[in-house]
């Protein structure tokens, strides 16, 4: 190990070359933990936990969503074309199609996001912070599979520069960066991230008529491999979409009641995630495993997750009682089958920087998100899903919630001084 250390150290650029040195430092601390020791005053031993390990635990918890999400991109594509409609048939094709869509998204997100991160770290002269590790892992999972890469880069740049660096970097941001990137696409390019057409990849639309895209070099290249292996191939593409196919997500269908949802998707299908949607949001068991990892390791707050669940359930019940329209009549527990509730609960609402920081505050914050999300989902005809806006809204309110919690602590203490 020490010889490798010596070899790596030879590459160290001079300190005057700020950008190169920051870059080197970033990779060096990735490879080796620094040899810094504690100071003479203060604690002499430090906990093994640091920000890198915290962040990487979240990334690990997301891995099942990545695997399933990638596969589901391919699955939805073939279902639309009426080929290999069983979930387990032609798995290699679905996985490769998913990878062909997913890898560019992942790479572009990281090149743009990390590039900006490196640039600001060099400019400010501090070490590269780990915040983007998680943001970069989350963004590909909350985008539609066919998002144009230039829109993706714009949204990542917008979110990282205005959402984070403008406020001072990791730990200073007010709203969730990943959601800010999504909100940017949502409002700047609504056609790319809403409606019924964007959730299934590899389709082209000519007016109302949809057909499969003509495959490009990546598909052809993998076809070579598949031919050699003697398994099913992609072919040339361009086939017609099956009759009666609609790319609508359950939430879009829910506007006209639960019956129209179940006409397309069984609740088991919605639970396991073989439905159109953002890449990582569909498979509930995969998300719940991630949530359990985060709770078991103490990385994410179980208080936020639980109270958000309660908030959503509460609001769902209230709407059931009100029963003003067909969407309000959807039994409250079915709301958990549709859309991205669990993904938002496990990975978005629990971001410690943007959530409330006191334990009491976390209960209020989570409950508020749960209630608001269902309100937006049910009452606002323009937005089928509510979690992104609910979380961004509560992010802004979180400091105020904390303020009141902290004030009550101060009042309690002041009372004690008077009583004494």
């Amino acid at each position: 190990m020490s010889s490798l250390l010596e070899k790596v150290k030879k590459f160290e650029p001079p300190k005057e070359k700020k950008f190169l040195h920051t870059l080197y430092d970033g990779f060096f601390t990735f490879l080796f933990t620094p040899d810094h020791t504690t100071h003479g005053v203060g604690v002499h031993i430090r906990d093994r936990m640091d920000l890198k390990r915290t962040m990487v635990m979240v990334v690990l918890a997301l891995q099942l969503c990545y695997v399933f999400g990638t596969y589901n991109i391919g699955h939805q594509h073939f279902v639309a074309l009426g080929e290999h409609t069983s979930f387990t048939s032609a798995m290699h094709l679905k996985l490769f199609h998913g990878l062909i869509k997913m890898l560019p998204i992942f790479i572009v997100t990281h090149v743009v996001g990390l590039g900006i991160e490196f640039y600001y770290a060099a400019r400010k002269g501090h070490a590269i912070e780990e915040g983007f590790l998680v943001t970069g892992a989350l963004i590909p999972l909350i985008m539609p599979p066919d998002i144009p890469l230039w829109i993706l880069s714009l949204s990542v740049a917008f979110a990282v520069i205005l959402g984070k660096e403008a406020f001072g970097g990791t730990g200073m941001n007010v709203v969730n960066i990943a959601l800010l990137a999504r909100a940017f696409v949502f409002f700047a390019y609504p056609g790319e991230i809403s409606g019924d057409r964007c959730w299934v990849s590899g389709l082209e639309f000519d007016g109302a008529v949809a057909s499969g895209e003509v495959y490009g070099w990546a598909h052809h290249l993998s076809d070579g491999l598949f031919k050699w292996l003697g398994v099913a191939t992609f072919g040339e593409g361009g086939g017609a979409v099956v009759d009666g196919w609609s790319g609508a997500t359950p939430l879009a269908l829910a506007k006209t009641g639960w019956e129209s949802v179940t006409a397309h998707y069984s609740s088991l299908q919605m639970l396991w995630g073989g439905i159109p949607g953002s890449v990582g949001e569909t498979c509930k068991p995969a998300i719940l495993v991630g949530a359990l990892i985060l709770i078991a390791t103490g990385i994410a707050s179980w208080r936020i997750m639980l109270s958000m669940f309660l908030g959503a359930a509460f609001m769902g019940i209230v709407f059931n009682w009100w029963g003003h329209d067909v969407q309000m009549d959807i039994p409250w527990y079915f709301h958990f089958y549709m859309g991205s509730f669990f993904f938002a609960m496990a990975f978005m609402a629990t971001d410690p920087v943007t959530a409330a920081s006191t334990n009491t505050g976390k209960w209020i914050y989570g409950f508020g998100i749960g209630m608001l999300g269902i309100i937006i989902r049910v009452m606002n005809a323009a937005y089928p899903e509510g979690w992104m806006l609910a979380i961004l809204f509560m992010n802004v309110w979180a400091p105020l919630i904390d303020h009141f919690v902290v004030q009550s602590n101060m009042k309690r203490r002041a009372k004690r001084a008077v009583a004494a």
């Binding site: 190990m1 250390l5 490879l31 080796f32 933990t33 620094p34 040899d35 020791t37 504690t38 100071h39 005053v41 203060g42 604690v43 002499h44 031993i45 430090r46 906990d47 093994r48 936990m49 640091d50 920000l51 890198k52 915290t54 990487v56 070490a127 912070e129 915040g131 990791t170 730990g171 609740s267 639970l271 390791t297 103490g298 990385i299 707050s301 359930a313 509460f314 059931n320 039994p331 527990y333 079915f334 958990f336 089958y337 410690p352 959530a355 920081s357 006191t358 334990n359 976390k362 904390d402 919690v405 902290v406 602590n409 101060m410 309690r412 203490r413 002041a414 004690r416 001084a417 004494a420």
Partner: protein, 548 residues
């Protein structure tokens, strides 16, 4: 008002749960069939949670009522489901009588190199008093001796020109061999080479039963006992013009590798009791002992049978043994009050002024840490030379010597002396090396409070710690982790942010007066962002102290 609000809250939950049951019934009739298992699971969770909330709220209501009517609310008998507490909490030990506080938050860091009894003799010849150990002391105090003078134990060595009544005395008799200077000609230490046979300055202690408080105070000031009394807030030498609300003594130490005070105090019961009597005359309130309720057996009768004092039992992990935590649960410091604290061995030193008529600075010191050949207890005097204490006992060169414990001690060296209030020396490995993927690999060998590391799954694991930072400093990101290791009604992260932004009102409001460094030391250890919390806290304390 408060109670009625709670009742309203309770009613709300009842309605809420009723709705849930209605929904459950509806769901049963609506769905049926195959894929409702997930729904049933969701319903089950909600019903369980609702039940738990109702139960918890009602249970609390019962406790509030019980407290109002003056019943002991800690007792299980009043709970809705007697025995629940025994199920969820550690059982209250049978030997505990009277006031008892069970602390949930905290963490014990178990390290290699725990000192083993019995107490052995130490071969230490040089001793020093270091003026900078006394917080608030001016850099250059007035030194009353010169190199070459001979002194007796208890003879004055120096005093602070700002506060000339408090005399600082020699712990041993012998020859003054050095007055060492530190930065900017400040006095670093006054070193005495000890005689083989200790000689003591003879003291005329007043009769405790008849003397006035003023007589007692002036005797203690002159005899050197005053320097042993420290005042909260700020952890400075007690102000002899003030009368403290209460005086607190913690009779157990939960810090990593901390000495077992039962063992340390063996055979010094009489002096300890007399010391408590002295303290009793100094306060307008009470002298409080914090007693250890963690062990299988009761602590030493020296503590449990002490007379004329208030006693409060504490169970829980570190920092349950910190006097600051105990004060918070017995009678919290407010913006208007001051309290004093004394270490256990220092109480005996004060008592010995009366029982033996001499300044007996005898101290049992625990030599601990994985880098020692033998971890043991030794009997010596305050301010012993570290090199002589550890002579031939160091197992490695690449080690850090700490006067005190690993969490709030001060780095020192073999040329240096044990700090005045410390009864422990810890030697740990210097972590001045790189580790490949040290941030990624699961690590069983390094202590942590985080559940993300496998080591915390085995709470009895004994670790071999080193001084590596295990990461780089970052801005505050993770929330709630300080609260989990600080058993006080305080928001440490908000307090730290208030200090960093010079917000005086918030600092006071959030309880900066109730804390000193050792109380937030565990938070600093646990901090994912590697923030220097103890330093930030001291900056804040200095700020509010100066503005006051």
């Amino acid at each position: 008002m408060h109670l009625s609000m709670r009742k309203g809250f309770n009613r709300l939950h009842l309605v809420f749960s009723f709705l849930l049951f209605l929904q459950l019934a509806q769901a049963q009739s609506q769905t049926g069939g195959g894929n409702s298992s997930f729904t049933t699971l969701l319903l089950g969770i909600v019903v369980l949670i609702a039940f738990f909330i109702i139960y918890q709220v009602s249970d609390n209501l019962v406790r509030i009522e019980a407290k109002k009517s003056g019943l002991d609310s800690e007792d299980d008998a009043l709970a809705m489901m007697p025995g629940k507490n025994g199920f969820f909490q550690k059982k209250k030990p049978a030997y505990v009588k009277g006031q008892y506080v069970a602390l949930k938050q905290g963490h014990n860091i178990l390290l290699e190199g725990e000192a083993k009894g019995p107490v052995q003799a130490a071969n230490v010849k040089t001793f020093a008093v270091q003026p900078q150990n006394f917080r608030g002391m001016s850099p250059i105090p007035k030194v009353e001796v010169e190199v070459g003078n001979t002194v007796k134990a208890g003879d004055h060595l120096f005093f602070d020109k700002k506060n000339p009544d408090v005399k600082y005395v020699s712990p041993v008799s012998g020859e003054v061999i050095a007055v060492n200077r530190g930065e900017r000609r400040s006095i670093a230490s006054i070193v005495v080479l000890a005689d083989n046979q200790q000689q003591y300055r003879s003291l005329n202690a007043p009769n405790l039963d008849t003397c006035s408080r003023e007589e007692l105070v002036s005797f203690l000031l002159d005899a050197g006992g005053w320097a042993l009394l420290r005042q909260r807030p700020f952890d400075v030498i007690a102000n002899h013009h003030e009368v403290p609300e209460n005086i607190f003594v913690s009779t157990f130490d939960t810090a990593p590798l901390a000495p077992n005070l039962d063992l340390v105090m063996e055979g010094r019961g009489a002096a300890f009791q007399r010391g408590l009597d002295v303290l009793g005359k100094l306060t307008k309130g009470r002298v409080w002992l914090g007693l250890n309720a963690n062990g299988d057996a009761a602590p030493s009768p020296i503590f449990t049978e002490a007379a004329g004092v208030g006693k409060c039992w504490f169970s829980g992990k570190h920092p349950a043994g910190n006097v600051g935590v105990q004060i918070h649960h017995i009678a919290p410091i407010t913006t208007k009050s001051t309290v004093w604290t004394v270490n256990v061995q220092d109480v005996a030193t004060i008592g010995a002024l009366f029982t033996e008529g001499k300044y007996n600075a005898e101290k049992v010191v625990a030599l601990t840490g994985a880098e020692l050949k033998v971890a043991k207890y030794v009997r010596t005097f305050t301010g012993a030379n570290i090199g002589e204490l550890l002579d031939g006992n160091l197992a490695s060169d690449n080690a850090r010597i700490i006067s005190g414990d690993v969490l709030s001690g001060i780095k020192t060296s073999t040329d240096n002396y044990l700090n005045f209030y410390d009864d422990q020396v810890t030697v740990v490995e210097e972590g001045n090396f790189h580790e490949m993927f040290g941030w990624l690999l699961p690590d069983l060998a390094t202590p942590s409070v985080s559940k993300a590391l496998p080591g915390t799954r085995f709470p009895d694991t004994v670790f071999k710690a080193n001084t590596n930072m295990h990461g780089e400093p970052r801005a505050f990101v993770v929330t709630g982790q300080y609260e989990e290791v600080l058993p006080m009604d305080i928001y440490p992260q908000h307090l730290m942010k208030a200090i960093l932004t010079n917000d005086y009102e918030k600092m006071e409001g959030l309880g900066i007066y109730e804390l000193i460094e050792e109380d937030v030391a565990l938070c600093e250890f646990a901090c994912t962002s590697k923030q220097p919390l103890q330093k930030i806290l001291r900056d804040g304390l200095d700020m509010v102290n100066e503005s006051a």
